[in-house]
Symmetry: C2
Subunit: 222 residues, 2 copies
């Protein structure tokens, strides 16, 4: 029997998502809470990435996680095992989180006792890119099996993100994935975005990613 808290956060018609997002960001900023909006396709490894990232940060920071899904609590159950504070958000069929849904999720999670909150967005490369949720940073994961041509088809996601993890590099030998081509396409859309090839399963590349994240948390809290 799972003890995961579940919060329904159905989408409401909000006139100005950006204004709500600014309110979320400024409220979190005043409390020194660093919110990450983690976005990726279904199965790119968002939850596995979160588990390894939380384990790398948890001695230094108090961490919360909001798991957004259309249904189920499987990811929240996995995250709970890290000791992070976790809530499952159900989006009522919606394919993305917006700022209002995020605000209600944060209220349900409670964040007065937290330093860092990760929002695992719904698995989708289209709609989540269109909605600022009020995060300090947007982090995107692309996994090697998805292919290096994805920036051509989902350009907005690659354009709005602040950091790109290329996950499942341990499976690179099985797939025809051209890292240089990928970096070229990404560079055309978002030249200053750092790109970290990682294996969230095995830990390769994590030092660089965690260093970047800690530096951004430090800047946010100064």
């Amino acid at each position: 029997m799972s003890a995961i808290a579940v919060k329904e956060v159905k989408e409401r018609v909000i006139a100005d998502n950006d204004a709500v997002a600014q309110k979320v960001r400024s409220d979190l900023g005043s409390k020194g809470v660093f919110l990450v909006n983690l976005m990726a396709s279904p199965g790119a490894g968002k939850t596995t990435t979160l588990v390894r990232t939380i384990n790398a940060l948890k001695d230094e920071y108090r961490i919360g996680v909001m798991e957004a899904d259309v249904d189920s609590v499987v990811d929240a159950e996995t995250i709970e095992q890290t000791g992070a504070k976790v809530i499952q958000l159900h989006t009522g069929g919606s394919c993305h989180m917006d700022a209002d849904m995020t605000m209600r999720g944060l209220e349900a999670l409670g964040y007065d006792d937290l330093d860092v909150v990760f929002l695992e967005n719904v698995g989708n490369l289209v709609c989540p890119a269109e909605f600022d949720v009020g995060a300090a940073k947007k982090v995107m994961i692309l996994s090697v099996p998805e292919g290096h041509d994805k920036p051509l088809k989902y350009p907005l996601m690659f354009s709005v993100s602040d950091c790109l993890l290329i996950n499942k590099i341990d499976a690179a030998e099985v797939f025809d994935f051209d890292m240089e081509k990928l970096k070229g396409y990404v560079g055309d859309l978002n030249p200053d975005m750092p790109v970290f090839p990682v294996s969230s399963l095995k830990g390769d590349g994590y030092d660089e990613w965690i260093d970047w994240l800690k530096e951004e948390i430090k800047k946010w809290r100064e």
Copy 2:
């Protein structure tokens, strides 16, 4: 220089998507044209599946393809090499196709000289499941790297589909994918749906999938 025809099919507000879908289906039915709505996550192998499927069918049927994407023509260029009639549809940012967009796509493609048309939907496991486009059959692809837990998180897509291909089984040894668990989850949602494990890259499992497809085309045209 690509000679791919590109049609903009931005979403319009349509009161009754289901009524338009019925019109599309009955119009195609009267002309004996079999439309497949192919849905999957980004990078699950929709285009590779289409290429191998077209090559298996093209001696027997005249085939057309509508490639729906937010941007780019890379998939249409790949499909064109099979000799199939192809058009690229750009969705104006929309994360799915609906019946009205499909109707306009079919008009732009032209289908009086076709027996089978494949619509490659936008890579997304959420929104495309909600819109009947008027297809004879909905085919879903889940790829092994995405994981066997996806029916728990995206139940609608698994519930509305008529056939499920499990792609990239040639990469199964690298991933912790439990086919029996997957079949159990799928069986709970959609007990009569056939499930075909395949490798669209290497051709494994294609006989069963192509036999099913030919049988459905035959039933449709009777």
